[in-house]
């Protein structure tokens, strides 16, 4: 047995280089020189781990050529990078009222842009740019955690309903129906209001709760489609364990639309979280900046100082746009009909 294995492995060695050659040849005709090097690198690194081209790899190949994806991913990367390095970029402590003496209730004045403070201050005299920069951390974190929790909950419900069917399915889906029947923002507000003390944590839970039924229903549908598919029937005919059928044969095939939805949901989560903060259901302590909360506290100054609302609102829109663009392009890339 051992001998036959080694002879089999010997056969593969001459084959591997020819495959890499052909892939680099193909790219030479289609793509420019700069890109070719990157693709060659990818082909080599991918070739080591797996001989085959998985769904993920073929989706990635198409994504790299999609301008929508590149723009969206660029936006997201820029903001994530910003969130990571913002403590270094921010020149001032966002909680300090450094420009407090320039704030006047009487003539409704707010610190204008000045040396050291490119965007001026907010209505408490805190440095606006530093708050904006550090606010990216909170906003992205809240959106990410809320989506992760929502995804986790939705996956659990979807797997239960889709894999077992029958009364489990009925029970889970009726709960989902109830949750979906309440308008999402109203649901989030109600859940946020359940907590004694408002904090970022309540925002996360509220936003996640809104997402759970959406993910759950989506996954249930795709799981049911998988359950009726030929390859699941074939796996059952081979006596494959139920656990393996659900997690190896059904779930990975059912996940595509859920991944797309998750990306789109990040955008929704950012907007929902901002809406909750805007409505005053966010953290009561405003010393840690967050865009939604900044936008909310700027509402009294819309007519006199619109820039207070413009900057956080602009950031929210651009980040949400980034996630939406990535989601859209992912949906196209994961479309099995376009797969080659």
């Amino acid at each position: 047995m051992g001998r036959s294995e080694t002879s089999g492995a010997g056969d593969t060695t001459p084959v591997a280089p020819t495959r890499q050659e052909s892939s680099s040849e193909g790219s030479r005709t289609v793509l420019g020189t700069k890109r070719r090097e990157r693709i060659d690198g990818l082909a080599e690194s991918g070739g080591d781990t797996a001989a085959g081209v998985s769904l993920a790899a073929s989706a990635w190949r198409r994504l790299r050529r999609s301008p929508t994806f590149l723009v969206g991913a660029g936006i997201i990367c820029a903001f994530v990078l910003l969130a990571l390095v913002s403590p270094l970029l921010a020149q001032h402590d966002p909680a300090l009222r450094l420009l407090e003496e320039q704030v006047s209730r009487a003539d409704n004045s707010i610190p204008p842009p000045q040396p050291g403070f490119p965007l001026g201050g907010d209505q408490y005299g805190r440095p606006l740019l530093s708050r904006l920069l550090l606010g990216s951390q909170q906003t992205l974190l809240v959106a990410l955690l809320a989506t992760v929790i929502g995804l986790g909950g939705g996956l659990t419900l979807g797997i239960l309903a889709g894999a077992f069917g029958g009364w489990v399915d009925t029970l889970v889906m009726r709960v989902v129906d109830v949750l979906l029947s309440v308008p999402s923002l109203l649901l989030a507000v109600s859940i946020g209001a359940l907590f004694q003390q408002q904090s970022q944590f309540t925002v996360i839970i509220a936003v996640a709760t809104v997402q759970i039924p959406i993910f759950g229903r989506l996954l249930r549908g795709t799981m049911l489609a998988q359950r009726a598919s030929d390859h699941v029937l074939a796996a059952r005919a081979l006596g494959v364990r139920q656990r393996s059928i659900v997690f190896r044969h059904m779930l990975p095939n059912a996940l595509g639309p859920v991944i797309v939805q998750a990306t789109l949901m990040l955008a929704v989560a950012i907007i929902d979280a901002a809406a909750l903060s805007f409505l005053g259901l966010g953290a009561a302590d405003t010393s840690t900046p967050e865009w939604g909360q900044m936008l909310g506290s700027a509402q009294n100054f819309f007519d006199t100082h619109p820039h207070l609302a413009f900057w956080p609102a602009g950031c929210i829109i651009v980040v949400a746009l980034g996630f939406t663009l990535v989601g859209e392009s992912l949906r196209d890339a994961l479309d099995p009909k376009k797969r080659r």
């Binding site: 294995e5 030929d230 390859h231 029937l233 006596g239 139920q242």
Partner: protein
């Protein structure tokens, strides 16, 4: 003793507010080790439902399965789901019709094969992988170690079907059910796959149930042939007898509707009149009688029983085609 004994197998689909559908209606047949038994018939005649019932793969809700199917003396139809899971794949293997959709698109085929080996033969992952490579080699896939890491969409149609056969054979089942294994393949590949199956049956003494609507496949593969119509066996004969002297008008009609190289130029094919929609229920008479050229008055009143003829065939017909009348056929 036969390896598989099917006795009076019936499958009924029960629907709310609608009449019950009888998909399979009292089928009995035996399969012996090393032999190939064909289940032949048109769409909806119950051939696939028969195989799914034997495999325990019919949905539990809305289906009533009765009768008995014994594999080496032990009853299959009353196994619990868990027991069935343990025996499926190990004692009975199945090859499906469409190799593209029957393979999981996101799992490399090597994993799909070794999964079955690990499950039923208790080998380690490493040994299972080596065994999977050996199986791929056995079913004629070149460079098997590399193919193990590939996905179904990277294989050609013929290779996919070979991979599926390798999976079905992974645990050396005593019974293999092939449900139209060549329908989705082109003719040359079809011939290759059939000769592969023939070879495997001969080498390992596996029993094979061949489900098909293709008389060419039957002629090339089967020792014994069961012709199904509307859920019942209407004729059962050895291959040679069936092709040289079809007795049931349906079987004769099927053969007349197949183009032949030795028929005169310009001669039209003779299709069977009507369609399955014209059938009458077996309770009222012979289901085929409205389409049958040989039908007598009795055919629409009383269903014929499956009876053994003088030649040792089994036949369900009041007025069979005269054995002497049929054309001589050059047999292979």
């Amino acid at each position: 003793m036969a390896l598989l004994e099917v006795r009076d197998l019936s499958v009924r689909f029960v629907r709310r507010h609608e009449p019950t559908v009888s998909a399979v209606d009292g089928i009995s047949f035996d399969v012996h080790p090393g032999s190939t038994v064909g289940l032949v018939g048109e769409s909806g005649c119950g051939k696939s439902v028969t195989s799914l019932a034997i495999m325990g793969l019919l949905p539990q809700r809305g289906t009533e399965v009765s009768g008995s199917a014994k594999l080496a003396g032990s009853e299959l139809l009353r196994l619990s789901r868990r027991e069935f899971d343990r025996r499926r794949g190990k004692e009975i293997g199945m090859v499906f019709q469409d190799p593209l959709t029957s393979l999981n698109p996101v799992v490399p085929i090597g994993v799909q094969i070794s999964e079955v080996i690990e499950r039923h033969r208790g080998l380690s992952r490493r040994d299972a992988k080596r065994e999977a490579a050996r199986l791929l080699d056995r079913v004629g896939i070149p460079d098997p170690t590399r193919r193990l890491g590939e996905y179904s969409h990277q294989l050609s149609g013929g290779m996919r079907q070979r991979a599926l056969i390798a999976m079905a054979l992974a645990c050396e089942p005593r019974l293999l059910i092939a449900d139209e294994p060549t329908t989705a393949l082109d003719v040359t590949i079809q011939a290759q796959i059939l000769s592969l199956l023939r070879e495997l049956v001969a080498e390992t003494d596996t029993a094979l149930i061949m489900i098909t609507h293709d008389l060419g496949v039957v002629a090339g593969m089967c020792d014994e042939v069961n012709v199904l119509y509307a859920g019942r066996i209407v004729e059962r004969a050895q291959r040679h007898e069936l092709f040289s002297r079809p007795r049931h008008p349906y079987t004769a009609g099927l053969m007349a509707s197949v183009p032949r190289l030795d028929s005169p130029r310009g001669q039209r094919l003779a299709p069977i009149d009507g369609s399955v929609a014209d059938n009458i229920p077996w309770e009222r008479g012979c289901a085929f009688s409205p389409r049958c050229g040989n039908a007598l008055a009795v055919c629409g009143q009383r269903a014929p029983e499956l009876e053994t003829t003088d030649a040792g065939e089994q036949l369900r017909c009041h007025n069979p085609v005269d054995a002497t009348e049929t054309v001589e056929r050059a047999d292979d």
